[in-house]
């Protein structure tokens, strides 16, 4: 957590924008933020549609043991993020698909247990590595200040792969999410799709968590998508809106964190929440 702000906000918006892009780290942060917003937005859109917020949140939390475990073993952090998030997606997916929806209670107790166990592992790795609990904050709450150009490239690759998955499987996945029974009757492989989706969600979340911190990925997954789905029922428009809102929320949050010295996670979640509340109010007013 930094204690002094880097610059003061002036009355001239153009000079403020120039200020914002003075430092290379800030340019990296804005680029990474945009990619993250697209990635988390699209994956989150399907997550919200499928009512799998709990699974999504659990997957995002798995980045914590992933990162600490990789550091402990001397591996690159990204390897830990992707393996932990991927593995837990498989566990949650196999418990979700193995029985019909009436066993939701069991599915959620498995998910909750996976989440707590993952965090417990993360705590063990942390204490094995350091003996003391310092430096856990950036891991949990993120820091946009140390993003390298290399990380931006990795992020872009994951984003392209994820979007590719949705380009190919998006239509049947949508069908399976909206009306599972009919989709199954038409020969859509509902279970395999659900599993594949969780895996992709896990990878998207792993990539995102490196930038936003483990505990705040979830805001970017759920808020833009939920807001967009409130505003329009049309699929294409709603997806576009999700991405646009995600980028907007991330950039405004970054800019606020740049000019006022509080953590970026606080600004991003708050902007996301305000946008969602405005959308809800707008919907109520419209009738």
């Amino acid at each position: 957590m930094h204690t002094t702000s880097l610059a003061a906000l002036s009355a001239d918006p153009l000079s403020d924008l120039r200020q914002l892009t003075t430092y290379p780290f800030m340019v990296n942060a804005l680029e990474a933020g945009a990619i993250v917003a697209v990635l988390a937005g699209v994956a989150g859109w399907f997550m919200v549609l499928r009512r799998e917020s709990f699974a999504g949140h659990t997957l995002s939390v798995m980045a914590f043991p992933g990162a600490t475990g990789a550091v402990l073993l001397g591996l690159p952090a990204a390897a830990g993020y992707f393996s932990f998030c991927g593995a837990s997606a498989l566990v949650i997916g196999s418990s979700a698909g193995s029985h019909p929806r009436r066993h939701r209670g069991e599915e959620s107790s498995v998910t909750g247990t996976v989440q707590a166990l993952g965090l417990a592992c993360g705590l063990v790795f942390l204490s094995l590595y350091q003996g003391v609990l310092s430096g856990y904050e950036n891991l949990l709450f993120g820091s946009f200040l140390g993003i390298t150009s290399g990380q931006v490239v990795v992020l872009a690759i994951v984003a392209v792969l994820t979007l590719g998955f949705f380009a190919v499987a998006g239509r049947p996945l949508l069908f399976a999410s909206v009306d599972e029974a009919v989709a199954r009757a038409r020969g859509v492989p509902v279970r395999a799709l659900g599993m594949a989706f969780l895996l992709v969600l896990g990878f998207a979340v792993a990539a995102t968590a490196q930038i936003t911190g483990v505990l705040l990925v979830f805001a970017l997954l759920v808020a833009p998508a939920a807001t967009a789905q409130l505003i329009t029922p049309r699929v294409g428009l709603s997806l576009l809106l999700t991405v646009a809102l995600g980028v907007l929320i991330t950039w405004v949050g970054l800019a606020l964190a740049y000019f006022y010295n509080y953590p970026v996670g606080f600004y991003i979640t708050t902007v996301a929440f305000v946008v969602y509340v405005l959308a809800r109010i707008g919907r109520t007013v419209r009738g």
């Binding site: 957590m1 204690t3 919200v48 009512r51 917020s53 709990f54 949140h57 659990t58 939390v61 193995s98 029985h99 939701r104 209670g105 069991e106 959620s108 107790s109 498995v110 998910t111 909750g112 247990t113 989440q115 707590a116 166990l117 965090l119 417990a120 592992c121 705590l123 063990v124 204490s127 094995l128 003996g131 609990l133 310092s134 856990y136 904050e137 949990l140 709450f141 505990l215 705040l216 979830f218 805001a219 759920v222 808020a223 939920a226 509080y262 953590p263 996670g265 606080f266 600004y267 991003i268 979640t269 708050t270 996301a272 929440f273 969602y276």
Partner: protein, 280 residues
């Protein structure tokens, strides 16, 4: 091992908290509200740090925040069935607020206070004083008593809300009370095994108990017993292996027991033969 005061304090606080989590968790799993529990654990973090930033006892913020949000979720949840999106958005923001309070608190008192954040997230069961252990135990026992008192109507309302409502059971009120109790249990367990890990103590013993028996009263007792065993086992492991954080050990034991019931019940009883939950 019991010669040390911190170990005695850990068992004094940990045991009632485990019973409370086991009983409350049984209803949480039965009602498929684990996600609400997940949300409340994050509320606990923010509540504690908000109180600390304001300069009052973190425990006051902890209990006030979790019980209030629990009751709020209960009030919202009955009308429009558990809306996980609303829960998700609200708790993502509340967590963001927690980060804000952490920053305010850390900068306000000149560093060294990241410790409170870590203790809230990961618990400090071996660091409890005698007084705070007794307080946590007292609150835990109160939650247990309240849960036992409403167990029968709450079971009825959870299994078949429509018939229960027709028979005059106050379904809505019970839903609110049960989430309020979940809030209290969450706040209590935050002090022992931490906000990030207590979800395991709510969901693993309850999930295991529901796999082992269809009888709800037996299930409740079993869930509490598994939670207590996990806590005792975890504390012992944490004491014997100094590098193993005790709260991680508790969750590891609880998860292992859940996994064990998974392995044994799938082999013995195919899913199709499992009876639905019977109330008798």
């Amino acid at each position: 091992m019991f010669g040390h005061e911190f170990v005695r304090n850990a068992f004094v606080a940990g045991t009632p908290v485990a019973v409370a989590c086991g009983l409350v968790g049984y209803f949480v799993v039965l009602r498929a509200q684990v996600f609400a529990g997940d949300a409340l654990t994050h509320v606990a973090f923010t509540g504690a740090l908000a109180a600390a930033a304001a300069g009052i006892d973190p425990r006051i913020g902890l209990f006030a925040a979790t019980v209030a949000v629990g009751v709020l979720l209960g009030g919202l949840g009955e009308r429009s069935h558990p809306d996980d999106v609303t829960i998700g958005i609200v708790f993502a923001w509340i967590l963001g607020l927690g980060v804000f309070f952490l920053a305010v608190f850390s900068s306000g008192s000149g560093g060294g206070n990241g410790l409170l954040g870590a203790r809230t997230l990961f618990g400090s069961i071996f660091g409890l004083t005698g007084a705070s252990a007794r307080l946590a135990a007292g609150v835990g026992l109160a939650v247990v008593a309240a849960t036992v008192a409403i167990a029968r109507p709450l079971l009825f309302a959870s299994v078949d809300p429509r018939v229960a409502a027709a028979r005059g059971v106050p379904v809505r009120t019970l839903g609110i009370v049960s989430l309020g109790l979940l809030g209290a249990a969450t706040a209590d367990a935050t002090q022992t095994i931490g906000a990030l890990l207590l979800l395991g103590l709510l969901s693993a013993p309850a999930g295991a108990a529901q796999r082992l028996t269809a009888n709800p009263y037996l299930g409740l007792a079993l869930s509490a017993a598994i939670a207590v065993l996990a806590t005792w086992g975890g504390l012992t492991l944490g004491y014997v292996i100094p590098t193993l954080p005790p709260s991680s050990a508790v969750i590891a034991v609880a998860s292992a027991m859940y996994l064990l019931t998974f392995l044994s019940t799938t082999r013995r009883r195919p899913r199709s033969e499992r009876r639905p939950l019977a109330l008798d």
